[in-house]
Amino acid sequence: MPGNKKTINSKILNDIQNKNDNNITNNNIKLNGSKTSDKKEINYLSSMTEVIDKDKKYKEKKLTGEQKINLLRTIIKIRRFEEKTIQLYQIAKIWGYLHPYVGEEAVAAGACAAIDRHDYIVSTHRGHGHSIAKGADLNRMMAELFGKATGYCKGRGGSMHIADTELGMLGANGIVGGGLPISVGAGFSCKMEGKGRVTLCFFSDGATNNGVFHESLNMAAIFKLPVIYVCENNMYAISMSVCESVACKDIAKRAVSYDIPGVIVDGSDPEEVYFAVLKAVLRAREGLGPSLIEAKTYRFGGHHPNDPAEYRDKKEAEYYKTEKDPVKNYKARLIDEKVVTIQAIEDMEKQIMQEVENSVKFAEESPEPSLEKFLEEVSGI
């Protein structure tokens, strides 16, 4: 598998070399914007804006129309799926904890587009987007949220524990940061196997303050494991603002502690995410070790469907929803680029809505897990 891939990889690597020169490298820190500032909005916006402006060039190259359309489809699929789960949660068809990914779709879409089907991903409590982007079956996902026997976990796990061996999806996680050490093991596995497989590990800003973040990145770095650490900095950990919780101004800077590349990207732009992750993936496949990518993004809603998010500045949320909506923006861009027509998008939307509705139907019609089987199984644990 890695044979000819390697040469191709090197070529692509060269091609996109000049992108993302906002890398943080060990010897030479060079970070965009985000100076210490009292106004956090400005703090954030500036750093993202700079990245976008500086890297205009990549827009004209690389991605084929088909790739772009696939990205758009994934983004819309995640959005529609999440909107549906929120509705279903509010009418108590889904219960327990549900953490919607609305607003962050471009991160999962862009990142997963940069890996292959046989690569692994490690996900979080806000994990639906990751699963969908990795190619999960909406039916089995929705069935899991309904607690049904046909769900990915046979109804045992629910939203926070969706996992699938086939898919290389090593699990959502109810523990913040809980997946980070697991990514190290997946990384060892990829490395020992020696076939160029990589692991993509998602987590958000809050997780970067937990000890496991540090242990995991250090260990991955020491052993040059092929793991790509994608931090979805959505600015909050429940009510805790990243400005108050992360002592350094940009999470990507923490790469310095592990002597690995640290990159900041605009998480509302799937192509920017894609190229940054692709570069890290190629690096990883060539045995050069892990990277840390900080995707600046935003959780459009509260922490969960019933959280009014009163701790946030309304203007801040408004800004992101109007200016940084990955669905709206990417649609507009692809129309602008004449990659798709409005009609094609409408068709796509319809098809996706159908798929989502089908998943609900599937979930509703699926059987409950068998209590007898469960009791029998438990007697053996």
Partner: protein, 323 residues
């Protein structure tokens, strides 16, 4: 008497103790503006300011460590771990540091630290948010373990915990924060190691704690209709344990059922059962019966989740088996 919610009783206890003693402070995740995951600290940030209501990053070890370091230097912190499941991220600090520091330094350092947390199943939040892990802390010398079931108890015990010079694991239950009960306006505290008979009876003693008290009371109601008179015994603190009161209850009823929501294997229920079997052997008309959770990670599916924890019907069945 006025009735207030369990979480409101917690809030009152904290406010009273913070007003009484400037050394008391709060530390934990989302306890600022958000008021805590179950809103027990609503408004406290405004009342006491960010120096005494310390909102932290997701750093469970550092939260407990912060409590220990402040405690050994003269403060009386209340550190919060949002779910008992997350104590797994701070076990070194809880068990190797906090619990032992007084004893392994020959009483040179003291650690008046309260660790507030909550556990239990019933909300469909699955295997990593539903555990009952009190057996771990019960097993570790140097930790007191309080598991209050009512608004009255939670207020009185929390005030005692805050004034205690040792480490207290203060374990609440996620299903009862909104439950209302009588709480006097006047100040009161409840000493540790003093049980409360939640219902008097003469035929059988049901030992239960935390949310299981309500299952026991429900079972008692059902059994009454069948002419079985049940005593519901709430230890309120597992460490120290009011063994004397329990033995006295058993002397009266000659039957004991021990209930725990936790997984049956290695649960606190076994330990209580063994102790009472040894110490009240002559008063027992039948072997002590245990009712506990299944040995399984709590499943998400509601039917399976409910099947994993004890209910009134299980207690009724157990009582009938020994009576």
């Amino acid at each position: 008497m006025r009735e207030i919610e369990y979480r409101e009783a917690i809030r009152e206890a904290v406010i009273e103790e913070m007003n009484r003693d400037p050394k008391v402070f709060l530390i934990g995740e989302d306890i600022g503006k958000y008021g805590g995951a179950f809103r027990a600290y609503k408004g406290l940030l405004d009342m006491f300011g960010p120096e005494r209501v310390i909102n932290t990053p997701i750093s469970e070890s550092a939260i407990i460590g912060a409590g220990i370091g402040a405690a050994v230097t003269g403060y009386r912190p209340i550190a919060e771990i949002m779910f008992i499941d997350f104590t797994t991220l701070a076990m070194d600090q809880i068990v190797n540091q906090a619990a032992k520091i007084r004893y392994m330094t020959g009483d040179n350092l003291r650690c008046p630290l309260v660790i507030r947390t909550q556990g239990g199943a019933g909300r469909g939040v699955a295997a990593q948010h539903s555990q009952s892990l009190e057996a771990w802390f019960y097993h570790i010398p140097g930790l007191k373990v309080a598991m209050p079931s009512t608004p009255y108890d939670v207020k009185g015990l929390l005030k005692t915990a805050i004034r205690d010079d040792n480490v207290v694991m203060f374990i609440e239950h996620k299903m009862i924060y909104l439950l209302k009960g009588p709480v006097p306006e006047e100040e009161y505290t409840i000493p540790f190691g003093v049980a409360d008979i939640k219902r008097e009876g003469s035929d059988v003693t049901i030992f239960a704690y935390s949310n299981m008290i309500y299952k026991a009371l429900e079972a008692a109601g059902q059994l009454e209709k069948e002419g079985i008179n049940v005593e519901v015994f709430d230890p309120r603190t597992l460490v120290p344990l009011d063994e004397e009161a329990l033995i006295n209850s058993v002397k009266k009823t000659n039957h004991l059922v021990v209930v725990s929501e936790a997984c049956e294997r290695g649960s606190v229920a076994s330990d209580i059962a063994v102790k009472i079997t040894a110490k009240a052997f002559d008063y027992l008309d039948a072997p002590v019966k245990i009712v506990a959770g299944l040995n399984t990670p709590i499943p998400y599916n509601s039917t399976l989740e409910q099947a994993s924890i004890p209910h009134a019907k299980d207690i009724v069945k157990a009582v009938k088996e020994i009576i």
